[in-house]
């Protein structure tokens, strides 16, 4: 009796139409049906933040979102951040520059969360960055460098240097 639903949404500006089992999460739709594997499945229960994407510009957990719920909405994943010529987003560049990862598995979620965190204006202090990035767990413990990368990218974006 599982419903199959036609779900239409934009991923990184590209219109997609997918026929999905009603149980399909946005995370599985992105990875297994749209074949964009940058978004990671960590805990799959809303605790680690590895699956963070933007829906209509706001960061959400794709593992706790049904694909059907984003019908008609705009989804942005880590693949949608860089410019078409390959120029990295300021947050991506800062993560590379400040070595803000070790194994890298949490990194797409960290970066998607950081881009939103900066846009929200929650980067006024290192404490604010830690508070508003707390939904993204890094088991390697790269937090000090992540905070540096977010702080630096925020400053550069605010100064309009990138």
């Amino acid at each position: 009796m599982a419903d199959r639903n036609k779900v239409q949404f934009k991923i990184n500006g590209e219109h997609r139409v997918l026929e999905l089992d009603s149980r399909t999460t946005l995370l599985d739709a992105i990875r297994e049906h749209a074949f964009l594997t940058g978004t990671k499945k960590g805990c799959d229960q809303g605790q680690c933040g590895a699956c963070t994407v933007h829906v209509d510009g706001e960061r959400v957990l794709s593992c706790l979102t049904l694909a059907a719920q984003v019908d008609g909405r705009n989804v942005t994943t880590i693949e949608g951040l860089a410019q078409t010529d390959g120029t990295l987003h300021a947050v991506q560049a800062a993560f590379v520059e400040f070595d803000a990862f070790q194994c890298g598995y949490c990194t797409p979620g960290q970066i998607m969360s950081a881009v939103a965190c900066i846009r929200e204006g929650h980067t006024g202090s290192d404490d604010a960055i830690r508070e508003y990035m707390s939904g993204n767990i890094c088991r390697c413990g790269a937090y000090p460098h992540i905070v540096t990368a977010v702080r630096t990218a925020a400053a550069r974006l605010q100064e309009g240097k990138v």
Binding site: D3, E58, L61, L64, L66, Q69, S113, A116, N136
Partner: protein, 330 residues
């Protein structure tokens, strides 16, 4: 996950009709429901998606009350300028809850209905016994690892703690839940939540075919001078070990307590209004000793299990610290 039918509602009346079928759940933010469906605690046959409903996400702040639509997102309410200035306890209870991502997803109505974090409740494969999931089956927490379980309001059937933060602030300030169903009705948030008694599966006053459409908080002077203190095992993205929503109004002398509001989170089976402490403080001078002496009443009748006795020590301290913060003593 059990297969389910998915329907989306464009208006409230249709959604209410659609929700009348058996084994049906409303889906809003999904942060609790989808999580519980993955773990097998919730096994609905049908989801009615109400996240697209129009007109339920308004936030209205006027001179005598604050109204928050049930579909408003936690993050939007927390960041609302008038909520921050007129009712800081609401904003603080919201931004200290969950994570930024979850707050962008979770609705206010769903937040009120979030389920307990009791690890036994949430793991049906390992623990078939749970009176909340399966009435009469027993409770694994009573003699299990119960460090995070309730010391207030529990019963021999259930000691699962109410996990939320916002409802604690709402209870402290006499907020009302607006419910739509066959008839429209309103119920005090304090009465909305039930004690587990011998039926922990019945957690609140909401019936099948009813939907929360908003909450309303009366504006009193203490609301502007309010605070939510949340003490927990890590600094962020964690449930409360003990929390307190407080508000304070002084007499014209600036020192005598005219009105005080106190509710506790993280220690009770429901958001826990500390009325005895409030009564003990009204008319008293605002000193640390007065606060600490009165705060002890908050845990009158508290019952510790093997691992959670620390909450009985902690809760009065959290109340005192929260009041000292709003009253300028720290």
């Amino acid at each position: 996950m059990r297969a389910f039918d998915y329907v989306r509602s464009s208006d409230i009346n249709t959604a209410l009709q659609q929700s009348g079928l058996p084994e049906t759940r409303f889906l809003a933010g999904g942060t609790t429901l989808l999580d519980l469906m993955k773990s097998g605690v919730e096994r609905p046959a049908r989801l009615v998606d109400i996240s697209h409903l129009q007109g339920l996400n308004d936030i209205t702040v006027v001179s005598d009350h604050i109204h928050i639509g049930a579909s408003a997102k936690m993050s939007h309410v927390a960041a609302h300028a008038q909520i921050q200035s007129q009712a800081p306890v609401l904003s603080e209870a919201l931004w200290r809850a969950a994570s930024a991502q979850i707050r962008n997803m979770a609705s206010i109505g769903g937040n009120l209905l979030q389920r307990t974090r009791c690890t036994y409740f949430r793991d049906p494969a390992a623990y078939p016994e749970c009176n909340k999931r399966n009435p009469g089956s027993g409770c694994a927490a009573l003699n299990g690892i119960n460090r995070n379980h309730a010391v207030l309001g529990g019963s021999d059937a259930c000691i699962a703690v109410y996990p939320g933060d916002l409802a604690v602030a709402l209870v402290a300030f006499d907020a009302t839940v607006f419910i739509r169903g066959a008839t429209d009705r309103q119920v005090a948030v304090d009465d909305f939540y039930r004690l587990p008694s011998n039926r922990p599966d019945i957690e609140n006053d909401l019936s099948v075919g009813e939907m929360i459409v908003g909450v309303e908080v009366p504006v009193v002077p203490a609301l502007k001078n309010s605070h939510y203190l949340k003490v927990r095992d890590r600094a962020s993205y964690e449930f409360a070990a003990a929390s307190a929503a407080v508000g304070l109004e002084f007499e014209d002398d600036g020192h005598t307590i005219k009105d005080v509001r106190i509710a506790l989170g993280g220690v009770g089976t429901k958001p826990w209004r500390a009325r005895q402490v409030e009564h003990a403080l009204i008319g008293k001078p605002f000193t640390e000793k007065v606060l600490r002496d009165a705060a002890r009443y908050a845990v009158d009748g508290a019952q510790a299990r093997e691992h959670n006795g620390f909450k009985i020590v902690l809760a009065p301290r959290v109340i005192a610290r929260a009041l000292m913060t709003v009253g300028g003593l720290v």
